[in-house]
């Protein structure tokens, strides 16, 4: 039994230590927002936050995060920065199929938390690991710029 601190709650899970967080979160803890895309950390659909930092849950064994706070897209609305990013995504009508967008939003939120005013190059650098097969990258950039503006306004 491993206790996972997930979305602000302790979840005792009957899993082996080597199980990737992705499957523990989805199959066992029952949060569905985190998506499986590649299983090798190549596409970013499974991006979560571990103590606020972005991580690929498909290649992170659950045993390695005991005691750390894991946040998924399912609970991002509780995060003020996350909320602003989600709103920017809606205002920009970013999503097409939407499958990768949870991961995109998690990566974007992590970027804006460490760098509230990223340049276009910094946005690309932070987001290049997140694949969107529908090709929504231009709107993702627009949404991140909008969220950045709103963050500044919120602070002012």
């Amino acid at each position: 039994m491993i206790t996972l601190k997930l979305n602000g709650q302790d979840h005792p899970l009957d899993v082996t230590e080597d199980m990737p967080l992705l499957w523990a979160i989805r199959d066992v803890a029952g949060y569905n927002g985190t998506k499986f895309g590649c299983g090798m950390g190549l596409c970013g659909a499974c991006t979560i936050h571990i103590d606020g930092a972005p991580a690929r849950s498909c290649i992170t064994p659950i045993g390695s995060v005991v005691g750390q706070n894991v946040t998924t897209i399912d609970n991002l609305h509780a995060d003020p920065v996350g909320q602003i990013v989600q709103q920017a995504w809606l205002d920009t009508a970013v999503a097409q199929c939407g499958y990768c967008q949870g991961g995109q939003i998690m990566s974007a939120t992590a970027l804006l938390k460490t760098n509230p005013n990223p340049s276009d190059e910094q946005i690309e650098e932070a987001m290049v690991g997140n694949i969107c097969r529908c090709g929504t990258y231009n709107r993702i950039k627009t949404a991140i710029r909008q969220a950045s503006t709103h963050l500044k306004e919120a602070k002012a």
């Binding site: 066992v28 199929c97 290049v128 997140n130």
Partner: protein, 773 residues
Amino acid sequence: MSRLPNDFALSNLSRRGFLKGVGATGALVLAASWGWQDALAEDKPKQFGADGMPNGWIDDPKVYVSIAADGTVTVVCNRSEMGQGVRTSLTMVVADELEADWAHVKVQQAPGDEVRFGNQDTDGSRSMRHWYEPMRRCGAAARTMLEQAAAAQWKVPVGECRAQLHKVIHTPSGRELGYGELAAAASALTVPARDSLRLKQPSEFRYIGKEGTKAIDGADIVNGRAVYGADVHFDGMLFAVIARPAVYGGKVKSVDDSAALKVPGVLKVIQIEPRPLPSEFQPLGGVAVVASNTWAALKGREALKIEWDDGPNATYDSVAYRKEIEAASLKPGKVVRNTGDIDKAIGSAASTLEASYYLPHLAQAPMEPMVAIARYKDGTCEAWAPSQAPQVTRERIAERLGLPFDNVTFNVTLLGGGFGRKSKPDFVVEAAVLAKEFPGKAVRVQWTREDDIHNSYFHTVSAEYLKAGVGKDGLPSAWLHRTVAPSITALFAPGMNHEAAFELGMGFTNMAYAIPNVRLENPEATVHTRVGWYRSVSNIPHGFAIQSFVDELAHKAKEDPLKYQIKLLGPDRQIDPRTLSEEWNYGESPERYPIDTGRMRTVLETAAKAAGWGRQLPKGRGLGLAVHYSFVTYVAAVIEVEVKDDGTLIVHKADIAVDCGPQINPERIRSQFEGACVMGLGNAVWGEISFKDGKVQQDNFHMYEVARMSLAPKEVAVHLVTPPGEVPLGGVGEPGVPPIAPALCNAIFAATGQRIRNLPVRYQLQGWQKAQA
């Protein structure tokens, strides 16, 4: 999910039974919708558009619209949502004619049931063009019934009652009744006759053609609440992964599952039988590991020891195959269009130009890998999956499990991308087969990305050869084009070595340039893997070859490519596709959908103007142009590219001009063309699936690379062109892809002088400056 009356299912089976008698194993359902019905039903008058689709269309508001006592309007969406926005756009159409307030409108996804809902195959860029009119009538009929119900309650003539924004108003007295208050009475009324309906004038539209309607699933998506295939969860559910043959047609010789069964959580190992080739939409077979969670199933699969018999396709090798189809492209083949006398014209031409182009296989690789859930109990099966073809899925499950059609229920989830891969229900049938082994339990089959890339239904591979006889004016008097590519129809029957009419009709036989002597040929190509629909399908190779070659001709003539294109199009005219030997025409009527060279010219000029065509650019930068007509929509693209010293590309801008006829949801149209541009760039720059010893050589996104943010244009602008006069709707989902690769490669040529004739571009530009010097 409610079960249907038996007669519905029986009438359905008999229709499909007809197909079964004719050809390959009753496997022609999707094929029929793509144009095979012409060969099967010669005695029937040809039907077009939605009329020509299996199970046609339905416009009954009692099927599609319900209104609750609180006024909530629920619209059923019969098409699958995969990012094109169809759940929003079709609902907008109903809501508009219904005079509904968008704030009180919901959408409900239809299960697979075409007798009730009409055709549900979400493919061919035709959801809006086939369903716009039936959905308008649904909305208008429901609106009329609400007005009638109000008139009856007030005991006034219905002509004095007018529906407006979720209520009916009695105009003379100003009395009002809300839709919720009228719903019960209205639903008891007879649906008004089709020809009695008053459809709105465009000036009255509230949502159709307007900006600002938010995507109906938007909030669920950004909160992680949207339900895709793998998000369907049942208590006590079992999780399976399958080891499939790596070679098409391979079989299990022996399997040792002792180590797999020792993995904690693994419950059972089950062998799945393949269908004899061709495999159609049935599973490839293999060995399934069923476990209590996905991770245990994956570890169990790793522990399997399987010996395979690779079968007849074990020698499929992309290097050798390329030589084979390139050689075939240099020899005469089956003539599919012949105008004038090309030999004579080439013989007397001032000069000639020839070029060969090659495009490899691609995999759709939607972000959501294949996944399906099924539950079997007491001779019934219910399944859930992200599917573009719900009816076909239901049929295949029934066939495979030997169940009556109406004992199978199929529910459609959101699709995490489709691009044609999810038109094939092999993965859902796998779940149904496994579920039968565990009666009463839900079983989920999860494909990994490796499974997806190894066992896709691949985009075709093709060799394209072109030769032109060029006059003193620089224009071609003769045009010879050969296309050699394995056909999708080989999925359904053996010996299908030529492209079908629906493949040739994608930008090949319907080539519309004003050239007096034209011969188009399709030499044979054998098929060694599953070839299937991939967004834009055969338009990708045909469009790339033709638009690259036209650019080469312009360069040879020392002409500006835009001016050359317009000369080559000739005077504005409407061409009956049948005069080009094109009978397919995307299933649409040739009278209603002629090929309009004026609309082609307009999109070219629009894209060129927006891009500042003709302006001077620094060294290493270039503008490239391409135009392509597909899915009865006209699209031109201008791409501005920079080729760095090391050969890497920066796409600075893409200007896409689109004439898709009337625009129902302009915002979603723009998003589709933005996305198609990015996907087209990925196809062109990185996309390649290759085979060796019959096996796909790529495993995951590090080997099968797709467009990332770094390849996306720094700026992309979609320019929606207002069509001239009254024209019907065109397609949106697919026509954005074909012009992108040639526009990019034409831009690369403008920037570097290096012509890219073989895709992907990948590292071909390394050292371009040396080559130039």
